[in-house]
Assembly symmetry: C2
Homo-oligomer: 562 residues x 2
């Protein structure tokens, strides 16, 4: 769906690389070298209390942008033009797929209702808060012509949390509840904000009545359901093919390739059908880790686990580097600094006479207002909805305490590439930021993204260790002791969720027997397990079907398969 919104950025990219092919080779070299640099520096700063990988990449990106700006004498600061295509077609799918693939499924589904509440209703609350705030505060300022559609778009743009950044800041093993809430919310949030954004661009905004709102809700429901089903279907199909044909018999590589390509296919298919690719590929990842992953050879299991994480890691680093570089795009800032909207022809005249950051005051003012709105908009749903969610939970362990609420509020404040992509789409339709109001909105979006990622991001680790001291201590003890590297804490063969399922079966269930009867989510889970074992696993494979013996080769379970 997000792709349906794509403008002509690729054309600019294409023209750029065609005009000087040598330059594009240089760009790739610089970019890959910077990526290597990010990895090494990220490794060295791993034990830092403040920095995380996204911030490293973002700062390196901004620095490189500044260097390029100086060496090209202010002509440009980026190597590539920000391209929504690059983002939505190549970078986002591996990140979200890997998140689904590695997510602790039990934790995720146990909190499913809360996640939906936060992701759908929460995003709507945030959207209305930010839109209304923007209308109230920006109307009085002289920032060019923004109509009602623009204000609603601002609401949608700044309601889109950055799920990628969330993944980096919270740790699934340390804070599983928070991770699944914040990240799960981020995934649903994407669907909501994209639906919102599409609705704003397509629906008649002047005559808002009950029918339009109903239509909108129906649209959201349809989108959520079909996207999920498509993802699940893709995952199940891959499981069935790999199990039925026993692809691993001839080649491990074919299994891995098939998993990768099928996951990507579901994403692109969702984009083609105007669904939410992010939701689709996320559920495809979940289904693949539940069924397909258990049908492949041992080598493939280890490979997929690490290879998907690596691809996701590279895409994330690339993304932050890219956003950092794009931040200093001189052309956009020039538009802001000029008093009125300029036509394309007159830019050339101003190119050398204009000082960088001519009128930073207004842009800073707007960015600060937007940041404030983001803070308020998120607070406006996290605390009330947590309260609502707590009312339905009987066990005090499942309730979201205030400290956790603050963490959830904080961890979802980061705005990222989705916001930038939506802002480009709304305010740079012709590929150029022709009107001053539009240019200001784009530079402000970038400022908010940079500030929220760097400053909020920097403060997250300390905040976590302050609010949740137990986890933070656990974390620091893990990373400071070199004799127990993280990857060796878990035996290689177990997937995390497999071991967690195990615990759920043998340890948690007897003690939770009463809870099982009283709590609806547990009952749903119980029925799902029965259904899964009776119908799904015999057809699609999975751990329950063939007893999992750590260290056993797949040859031993061969007779059960063929």
């Amino acid at each position: 769906m997000a792709l349906g919104l794509v403008t002509q950025h690729l054309a600019r990219l294409g023209t750029l690389s065609a005009t000087s092919d040598h330059a594009s080779v240089v760009s790739i070299n610089i970019f890959v070298a910077l990526l290597c640099g990010c990895i090494v520096i990220g490794h060295l700063l791993e034990e830092s209390r403040w920095i995380n990988e996204s911030i490293t990449a973002l700062v390196i990106g901004v620095c490189t942008g500044a260097v390029i700006l100086l060496t090209t004498k202010g002509k440009s600061s980026h190597i590539f033009v920000f391209s929504e295509d690059l983002f939505f077609i190549y970078l986002l799918p591996p990140i979200i797929f890997n998140a689904g693939f590695q997510v602790k499924k039990k934790q995720f589904f146990r909190n499913f209702m809360t996640i939906m509440l936060f992701g759908a209703i929460g995003t709507l609350i945030s959207f209305f808060t930010i839109s209304l705030g923007a209308v109230a505060l920006f109307r009085k300022m002289d920032i060019g012509s923004l109509d009602i559609g623009d204000f609603l778009a601002i609401g949608a743009i700044f309601s889109a949390t950055d799920s990628v950044c969330t993944l980096q800041i919270l740790n699934q093993d340390e804070t599983p509840l928070l991770y699944s809430l914040v990240f799960g919310e981020g995934v649903v949030n994407d669907a909501t904000s994209v639906v919102l954004f599409n609705a704003i661009q397509n629906f008649d905004l002047v005559h808002i009545d009950a029918i339009i709102i109903l239509k909108f809700l129906a649209n959201f429901g349809y989108l959520f359901l079909t996207s999920t089903l498509l993802g699940a279907f893709g995952g199940l199909l891959s499981a069935y093919i790999i199990k039925k044909l026993y692809i691993g018999r001839h080649s491990t590589d074919r299994e891995v390739a098939l998993m990768m390509l099928m996951a990507y296919l579901t994403y692109m298919l969702a984009e083609l059908l105007d669904l939410s690719g992010i939701l689709t590929v996320f559920f495809c990842g979940i289904v693949m880790s539940h069924y397909t992953w258990h049908n492949v050879t041992e080598g493939s299991r280890i490979t997929t686990k690490h290879a998907f994480a690596t691809l996701s890691f590279i895409a994330e680093t690339f993304l932050f580097l890219y956003v950092g570089m794009d931040a200093l795009d001189i052309e956009k800032w020039r538009f802001v600094s000029s008093r009125y909207g300029l036509e394309k022809g007159s830019i050339a005249l101003h190119k050398h006479s204009c000082v960088f950051f001519c009128s930073p005051g207004k842009s800073v003012q707007i960015s600060l207002i937007l940041l404030g709105l983001v803070l308020v908009g998120r607070a406006a749903f996290v605390f009330p909805l947590s309260f609502l969610s707590n009312l339905t939970k009987k066990s005090p362990d499942d309730r979201i305490v205030l400290k956790q609420q603050v963490t959830i509020w904080w961890a979802g404040l980061m705005r990222g590439a989705v916001s930038i992509a939506l802002a480009y789409n709304q305010f740079a339709r012709s590929g150029h930021t022709q009107l001053r109001g539009n240019a200001i909105m784009i530079t402000s979006t970038i400022s908010v993204v940079l500030f929220s990622t760097v400053v909020f991001g920097l403060m997250t680790k300390p905040l976590l260790s302050f609010l949740l001291p137990h986890n933070a201590k656990h974390f620091s003890s893990m990373s400071s002791d070199p004799s127990t590297p993280k990857s060796l804490l878990l035996p290689l063969m177990e997937n995390g969720q497999a071991s967690e399922d195990e615990i759920g079966e043998h340890v948690a269930r007897p003690s939770n027997l009463r809870l099982l009867l009283t709590k609806p989510t547990h009952t749903v889970h119980h029925h799902w397990r029965k259904f899964d074992n009776a119908f799904m696993r015999p057809v699609f494979g999975g751990r329950g079907f063939v007893p999992f013996v750590p260290g056993s080769s797949s040859a031993q379970s061969l007779h059960g398969w063929s």
Copy 2:
């Protein structure tokens, strides 16, 4: 270097996807779905005696091209325009890197002189044979204006063997000598033909004298040496960084990402410096598998081994699919069919009046002549050079017998994407095949590539089983017995070359003690081992430094590292 030759194809690609973004999403969907199809069909045909994966992909590509041709009513047959950039920047590096990474190093370096002889001198012989043959045979035919540069270019284009196809047809475990000879030759061959091609485009061809030939030879030597050194440097740097910083302590993914990115960086750096990226990334792969691979965690070892193979596999399949689709490009065939060169404007007039394959006779004639020249050109160096090589070998086991010579001759006959890329570069400078002679050469190149890959490829497996019955039997028994899947024949932890080194140490050496003294390559190998153990391994890591215990985790060898 190959990239330096790149024309404006990317611009066409960019324009294409900008004009209709929806179309590009559709294209990606079709392409990924076809890739999945290729994998599944390739798996089902694995046991076939005739078909291999390249042929499957090529045939599927041609069929899809035909379907697209019919549905678009003859407007176009391909989804993407053939782009040298796509080929040289994205598809080739993973294929060649993986080849270097998985190659049996001992076998490769033992035959190093023979490989160089075949790759450099052999390619030159083939180049002269084909060029002279083309001059003699094409001069009399009416195929438009081709000058001496064009004829020499034809020689270079058809001397470039398809190393990718070789990888698929020969099996490293079954015929190690042949594999290393044919594949090693293919890698050196690339460097030679690219140098040749560049020389033809840059040097003054009318006044060929001793100085130009010397310059040319010096250029080749420089290219070979610097490319190799750059690759080795990249590999050693990655080994040093990973060993020194012990990246695996925090994250397995970082190790894998760093290996991937560093390898890619050497390739792009080589392209930037006008060296042979293929040679560079090949040697980078060798060095990485010798040093870096032993410094990473166990998880990373398994992951890199399979992930690099998977990426290479996807790129190969993509490539053949792509070449297959491009084969039916209607515009090129229309140019051939028209009597004289047409301007761009007049194509439109002919678009619907022109029947497909109007004058197939001439194109078939030329393709057959070229195929004949390829056969003769390869025979002209394989048999004489094998004879020369045999003269230097004292042990009859190391000699290349006639049956092996025939296999080498046959296995290198395939022409692939490198030929197509060079042909586009020479004959389609403006992005359009304006002159009839040029258009004929491009369609003929595609015909030769298709024919050689499909027909020669189809006949290779039967030919191998006829010429080398022992290996073929071994092969068929391996793949027909489902209870011993290929990937389980070797324990997961050993890398193939590791086990081979082991054998070389403990079994082969005592019996070869006398040979070691009499044969120079063995002496070189002996000194290299001493040097490697004394100086290289303490700095860059590698198996010899930390004793390799199968199944041991890297935690045990931690104290030796930090």
